[in-house]
């Protein structure tokens, strides 16, 4: 008799805010940079330096909280989280403890066609740590403090998820919502969005929570899925064998495709949180909250719904709203060429391919939307020969010129001139007398072969409809 186990999963997500400046000093908060060049006495934690709050970080956190349906604290403060580590130069991290900026929100996810609400416990603001590099051949590690002090938002869920798929669905939806706020690039590989699931299992039908483990170092949706699946399996197997699950932090081992315990003994942490005396508390006014609320973008879910209502297929809408910039771009195209379905086909097809091949972000498209819309119209209405479409699109990305001039420059405009096409048709009939006779003899379907030949002769530029009409006239009388 094998016991069935139910996983219980909560997620802690850290989001690095990409504001112009760090959270408590005015150093640039840029990603990367030469090591230890974006540091000042404050983010170096030099003796005597003091932190001062960057209002933009607070507003960005409020917006994140509001977009997750949270209550915003009208009175909040910062606290110190005390611990020793070489990537925190002050010996404490400025964070928030008992009065987070935002709490009690939720996020609705869809898994296998079913809707599910995941509770958000809290959203708070803190500072990021520096980066530590391990040097294999030396008995030392290296510290770069450029990242130290960059604003970091922590989003904690209730233990509401019960499968790895749910955890990933939450993470995807969260990322979509957050990326719409333009406060972070939400990039898991680069670490601006970091996810730490905590997982426990319990016998099905029981309600007491089991001992949980936390997994760190997950840098893609795929790895989150795999590691949570593995961890559920590992814990269930351990309990089945009558073993206990140790409360510990584990890492995903990509090579071994399994989670492994972090080495080193982990004594219970005592962070000795207390109010940060260098930073007076904050009062958030109703007006500030309402201003932040008014500044929120239409969330991805609603935009998707609106696109579908315009007659765009679900699949196209899903891809277009993945990024707010792309959805905006799509809308901008429509003001030049109001054919939602056609434009959406372009934006999830050839256009997206070009972006991907060229490594261009969907948030940062260098082509004016009017040009893209014009290109779409020309393609659809016959202004560009079918065979030349890819060439024109590439030229559009290469030059950024407007498609009408490009078509002229490249000499790929569609030929619609009756006389010109007439001459080509005559030549094709002369060269394919056998087929022509068949058509004259009543086998009308054979006419398509002649259309094809004529198109070939025109190098794809002839308008195929006109070719067909002239052929019919000439052969069918």
């Amino acid at each position: 008799m094998s016991q069935q186990y139910e996983p219980v999963i909560g997620l802690e997500v850290h989001l690095e805010l990409h504001l112009p400046q760090k959270m408590f000093c005015s150093c640039p908060a840029e990603f990367g940079g030469e090591p230890n060049t974006q540091v000042c006495p404050v983010c170096l934690g030099l003796p005597g330096s003091l932190p001062v709050v960057n209002r933009e970080g607070v507003l960005a956190t409020i917006r994140a909280g509001l977009s997750l349906g949270c209550e915003i604290a009208t009175f909040t403060k910062f606290d110190r989280k005390n611990y020793y580590y070489p990537d925190i130069p002050k010996g404490y991290q400025i964070s928030q403890y008992d009065l987070p900026l935002c709490r009690k929100g939720s996020l609705t996810i869809d898994v296998n066609g079913k809707s599910k609400v995941v509770g958000i416990t809290r959203v708070h603001l803190e500072e990021d740590t520096g980066k530590l590099a391990h040097v294999d051949d030396r008995n030392e590690s290296w510290v770069d403090l450029n990242r130290a002090g960059i604003a970091l938002v922590e989003i904690v869920t209730e233990p509401d998820m019960h499968s790895a798929e749910e955890a990933v669905a939450y993470l995807k939806e969260l990322k979509a919502i957050l990326s719409y706020l333009n406060i972070s690039d939400c990039n898991m590989e680069e670490g601006s969005l970091r996810c730490e699931p905590n997982i426990s299992v319990r016998p099905v039908g029981t309600s007491t929570l089991g001992t949980k483990t936390e997994i760190k170092n997950l840098n893609s949706f795929k790895v989150v899925l795999q590691s949570v699946q593995h961890e559920i399996h590992r814990q269930s197997a351990a309990l089945s064998r009558g073993e206990e699950v140790a409360q510990e932090t584990r890492l995903w081992d990509e090579a071994g495709q399994k989670t492994v315990a972090m080495r080193g003994k982990e004594t219970a942490q005592d962070y000795r949180y207390f109010p940060e005396p260098d930073i007076p508390p904050l009062e958030i006014s109703k007006e500030e909250i309402e201003t932040a609320r008014a500044s929120l973008p239409t969330p991805p879910k609603e935009r998707r719904k609106a696109l579908v209502e315009k007659g765009i297929p679900d699949y196209n809408a899903e891809i277009i709203v993945r990024s707010q910039g792309y959805a905006d771009y799509f809308e901008a195209c429509l003001s030049t060429y109001n054919e939602p379905h056609k434009v959406s086909n372009l934006l999830i097809g050839g256009f997206l391919q070009e972006l991907n091949q060229r490594g261009i972000s969907e948030e940062d498209i260098p082509i004016p939307p009017e040009h893209t819309a014009t290109y779409c119209r020309l393609s659809e209405e016959g202004g560009i020969g079918k065979a030349a479409r890819k060439q024109v699109l590439a030229a559009l990305f290469d030059t950024g010129k407007d498609p009408e001039s490009l078509v002229k420059e490249l000499g790929v405009s569609q030929v619609e001139d009756q006389d010109e096409i007439g001459k080509m048709v005559d030549q094709v009939i002369a060269e394919n007398e056998a087929i022509a006779s068949q058509v004259r003899g009543g086998k009308t379907s054979a006419i398509m072969a002649l259309v094809g030949q004529t198109m070939k002769l025109s190098k794809g530029r002839a308008n195929p409809q006109i070719v067909q009409e002239i052929l019919k006239k000439k052969l069918e009388g």
């Binding site: 709050v53 002050k90 260098d278």
Partner: protein, 489 residues
Amino acid sequence: MSELWKLTSGDLHERFTSGAASAVEIVESHLDRADQVEAKIDAILTLDRDHVLAQAKALDAKREKGEPLGMLAGIPIGIKDNICTEGIKTTAGSRILESFVPPYNAHVIDKILAADGIIFAKTNLDEFAMGSSCENSAFKVTKNPWDLTRVPGGSSGGSAAAVAAGIVPLALGTDTGGSIRQPASFCGLVGMKPTYGRVSRYGALAFASSLDQIGPISKDVAGSARLLSVIAGKDPNDGTSIDQEVPDYREALEEEMFGLTLGLPKEYMSDSLPSSIREAVDDVVLTLEALGTSVRAIDLPHTEYAVATYYVVANSEASSNLARYDGMHYGHRTKAPIKNLAESFSRTRSEGFGDEVKRRIMTGTHALSSGYYDAYYLKALKVRRKIREDFETAFEDVDAVIAPTSPVTAFKIGEKIDDPLSMYLTDILTVAVNLAGLPALSLPVGFSGEGLPIGLQIIGQPFEEELLLTLAQGYQVETDHHKKWPQIP
């Protein structure tokens, strides 16, 4: 030999700006004085003669060109060595920062330089400002110029001793629980702890962030008024500094004190107070009453809890503020072979910190730790509010509070060093002011039978520094304690 060093800061400034003395002459007189007495006093940790002379020459050139001169022009100033000076070692009296050279200036240093003050020397202190005697410095024990066998007080003992010995006419100290006022009183000087938030803490090495304030120490009341006028004000780099207009505090020296009501707290005049101090206070009361004030007894009922409250709050904050000294990014790092990172931290800190700092970090760590937070830290924060409320109630009836600065005069070097708690208890009369965030000024009001200075503090409501200066000046013009110089053998 020129006796320019005997002049007050105001007189030096006057001599310099009028052309009666050059800045070089002034600093040479003070350098000579330092040569004469420093070996006996041990007030100074860093003094770079070339740097001092270079500043003086630059000032003389500026005066030559007829450029406008700042309020501190021509005045050599001692800086407590827990205040960051760019390019000049700043050690906080600790081995852990023995060779630390800040790449930036504290806000107050920038202000002093902008006012044409001369950064003369970095002065000794109890390590990280933790102490009441200057004996906790890792480098030297400063002696009281009035009696070289006695302590100058602490933690700003080096600043006070330097001013008392005539090495500088003005100095900066920091006051977390009396560290400006108590050494000022032990050395017969004026010392002022401004309202919390009046002076930016940016660049002052934090001991207890919610209590620390930088303030002036001077021979006379006018010196402190002058220096405070320069260093006070909102600093965008210190979120706890307060945006309130900064007056020229020297104008307060001209104000009348007639009609003011002063409170003398019963709890600050306990029976155990030495008779010399009690008598000095009685004399002050008579003088002040003769000047048109009325003095009445008041209650500050939570006074007996002030020391315990103070040491919980201060040490808790200190345990966190001093966590940055872990040998990773600056300061001392152990050279002993270590097994792991945790051992690197703990060996570094064991080697770098003195015993008093370790005691305070450990008691503070305990007070914040899981299971003890409510009973210690949180409890102390609540009693802290009661202590402030005591003052608020008192200020409903009186304009200012007067009290002895210390329950003792300067004690013997070594007398209390082995009994930390008895040392803490000598802070009983100063710590409540820091807990409540109030301004207070200590001024010399006489001498004990042994010839040791006695200080009295005047405590005001937030941002009423001017009232304190008015009262102190009114008293000072009637007396001459501040004009006396110690005989340094």
